[in-house]
């Protein structure tokens, strides 16, 4: 079954254990200065943000139908059956279309490097394929971040809202955003107030492009025949005109 993450903002205490575990898993540096950054970047693939009295976490949403994977010209980004959206840096040409296309502004780039890579969370693909939890979920001391089966986590999220309706804003972020993601958020306040983009389309983004791409073979072949036809008629007319002129 496909994996997912459930992040419950109402439980989060902002300890940043997830950040640290994530950095360790990727072998990235982590210190007080980096801990203070509240934006994800090429050297920090998840972050805890403070929005007034609420905490929020940012990481790759690992969409069910990821825009980034659909736009990558070389197929460097793939959606795995397991759930994580993985990236193969050895294919990447650095066009940064994935960054442009992502409605959550998740992919980041190693701007300062001479041989740069795109960077993003991949929901601990290799840990999860070994049956382990994601590093962040394992590190979370209060269960604010949990990883596991997508269907089960969704049921869990619904149950929490149903059990304590006064504590939760009655919606699950990630259920419909961009056609559905593999990261679900619960929050006490509307999601825009904890920094999550509110204007993400409900439809899977690759569909927007595919509607055009799928008609191309038809347009191209019709166009080819049409052009050849016009060419033939135009030249035939010229020939006929010439022949007639010669006859006169």
């Amino acid at each position: 079954m496909s994996k997912a993450i459930l992040y419950d903002s109402t439980l989060c205490i902002g300890c940043k254990a997830c950040e640290q575990a994530c950095a360790a898993r990727w072998g990235m540096a982590y210190n007080d200065k980096i801990a203070a950054e509240e934006q994800i970047s090429a050297h920090k693939l998840t972050c805890i943000q403070t929005h007034g009295e609420h905490f929020s976490r940012r990481l790759c949403m690992n969409c069910v139908q990821p825009a980034c994977a659909s736009v990558c010209p070389v197929g460097a980004i793939q959606k795995t059956g397991l759930g994580p959206v993985v990236y193969d840096a050895s294919k990447c040409i650095g066009c940064r279309y994935c960054m442009q296309a992502c409605p959550f502004q998740v992919p980041t780039y190693e701007w300062g490097r001479r041989l740069p890579r795109m960077r993003k969370c991949d929901m601990c693909y290799e840990r999860q394929s070994r049956g382990q939890l994601t590093a962040c979920a394992e590190a979370c001391p209060v269960g604010a971040t949990r990883s596991g089966d997508r269907g089960e986590l969704l049921a869990e999220a619904r149950k929490r809202i149903a059990d304590k309706p006064d504590q939760y804003y009655p919606a699950i972020y990630g259920l419909q955003e961009a056609g559905g993601t593999s990261v679900f958020y619960l929050s006490a306040v509307p999601f825009a107030q904890i920094g999550l983009p509110a204007n993400v389309p409900r439809e899977a983004l690759p569909d927007y492009t595919w509607r055009v791409l799928e008609v191309i073979p038809g347009v191209a072949s019709t166009g080819g025949v049409l052009l050849a036809g016009i060419w033939w008629i135009a030249h035939r007319r010229a020939e006929v005109a010439k022949a007639e002129r010669e006859r006169q």
Binding site: Q39, I40, S41, A42, A67, S70, V71, C72, P73, V74, G75, A76, K91, C92, I93, G94, C95, R96, Y97, M99, Q100, A101, P103, Q105, P107, T108, Y109, E110, W111, G112, R113, R114, L115, P116, R117, M118, P197, N199, V200, P201, L205, P206, Y208, T209, W210, R211, V212, L213, I216, V219, A220, G223, G224, L227, A228, I230, W231, A234, R237, A238
Partner: protein, 387 residues
């Protein structure tokens, strides 16, 4: 007698090239971070918005004229076909150069050849650039072969020329429109004045318009640079087609806005509104002016109209590719000096290369008498039409 003016231009040219070289050094040594103002929030800037999107568009005179001359068999436009193909070929070469700057890993520019993702518009763009550059090379090759008097290969190329031309037109059509399709995936980021499901169609029609405008622009410049008379009747004929294409384009954009119920956005006092207004005005003015036969008879006015269309086109591509995305990305972007320097250098080298090639190869081959006479007929014809 034109020496002093030339010197001024040479100084400017040299200054641009030197700044370009400095910028190249930055790009190579310090990467995209050191040479651009791009960020995680704003991954595409001037190099995509201008070098690639405008470069491809400004090269569209090539396929437009090939269609007019060879497919529709309107032979009288033959004298301006070669310069248009040369511009297109150079345009595409410089798009590739622009990409070498913009790609994070230019050493892997060949990857789309072997690593496929047919769901990606960028993949399609990459293939179109490659194939169409090849087609343009083959279309221009006869000029080179003629210069050296190699007739055998000339014959071969002649044999494949019709399928080649049809292929070229198809590739351009796909390519011009797919540059618009690139932005279909950002419905929430691109400002609603620009985001529309018919972006590909808009991009295609405006590419045809700018192709015609660029041909007029070039004819005017070449006539001055090479001391030839402007093929006024021809150019006036193109201008007439241009007026029609522009009208269709503007009408389509109006319908699109009203259909999506976003016309009310035009009353908001935002940067986007003004930039949109500028883009439309630059297209609307020539569209109206060029319907007048009097304007079409004056080389200066024709030239002015062509320049407006070119700038209107550039404004549109920059709006879609950069400014229209700023609000949706929650950030501001102003290109760094080095981004501008590279862009200017590419344009300057393009102009110089065109000049050099045109003076060495038979790009502006004197064409046999009748063509000019036929041309004169059109002018009269067009006067009758518009009178």
């Amino acid at each position: 007698m034109r020496l002093p003016k030339m010197t001024l231009w040479r100084v400017i040219f040299a200054a641009i090239l030197i700044s370009g070289i400095c910028a190249t050094y930055l790009r190579v040594m310090y990467g995209l971070g050191g040479s651009t103002n791009l960020s995680d929030r704003f991954p595409w800037g001037l190099w995509i918005g201008f070098d690639v999107m405008c470069g491809v568009g400004l090269a569209s005179g090539g396929f437009t004229l090939v269609a007019v001359v060879h497919i529709f068999n309107i032979e009288r436009y033959k004298p301006i076909l070669r310069p248009a193909i040369l511009t297109a070929f150079l345009g595409y070469l410089f798009v590739v150069v622009g990409l070498m700057y913009d790609l994070g890993r230019p050493d892997r520019i060949w990857h789309p050849l072997v690593m496929w993702n047919p769901h990606s518009v960028m993949f399609e763009v990459a293939w179109c650039v490659m194939l169409y550059t090849t087609v343009l090379f083959l279309e221009f090759l006869p000029v080179v072969l003629e210069r050296f008097g190699w007739s055998r290969p000339l014959e071969w190329i002649h044999k494949i020329s019709v399928p080649l031309m049809i292929l070229g037109i198809l590739l351009s059509t796909l390519h011009q429109s797919s540059l618009g399709s690139l932005f279909l995936i950002v419905p929430a980021k691109l400002y609603p004045l620009w985001y529309t499901p018919i972006l590909p169609l808009q991009f295609f029609i405006s590419a045809v318009a700018v192709g015609l405008a660029m041909t007029i622009f070039e004819s005017w410049h070449s006539s001055r640079a090479f001391g030839r008379a402007l093929e006024l009747p021809l150019v006036a004929g193109l201008a007439q087609i241009l007026a029609v294409v522009l009208s269709v384009y503007l009408w389509l954009r109006f319908l699109d806005l009203s259909h999506r119920h976003v016309l009310a956005l035009l009353t908001r006092n935002r940067v986007e509104t003004w930039l949109f207004g500028l883009e439309i005005a630059l297209m609307l003015a020539p569209a109206v002016l060029l319907y007048s036969a009097r304007i079409r008879r004056r080389p200066g006015a024709l030239y002015g109209c062509a320049v407006m269309v070119v700038f209107g086109f550039i404004a549109n591509r920059l709006n879609v590719g950069t400014t229209g995305l700023e609000a949706g990305s929650g950030t501001h972007y102003i290109p760094k000096w080095s981004e501008i320097a590279v862009t200017l250098s590419i344009v300057a080298v393009g102009f110089a290369a065109f000049r050099a090639i045109a003076s060495y190869f038979p790009v502006f081959e004197p064409v046999d008498g009748p063509v000019h006479k036929e041309g004169a007929e059109i002018l009269e014809g067009s006067e009758v039409l518009s009178a």
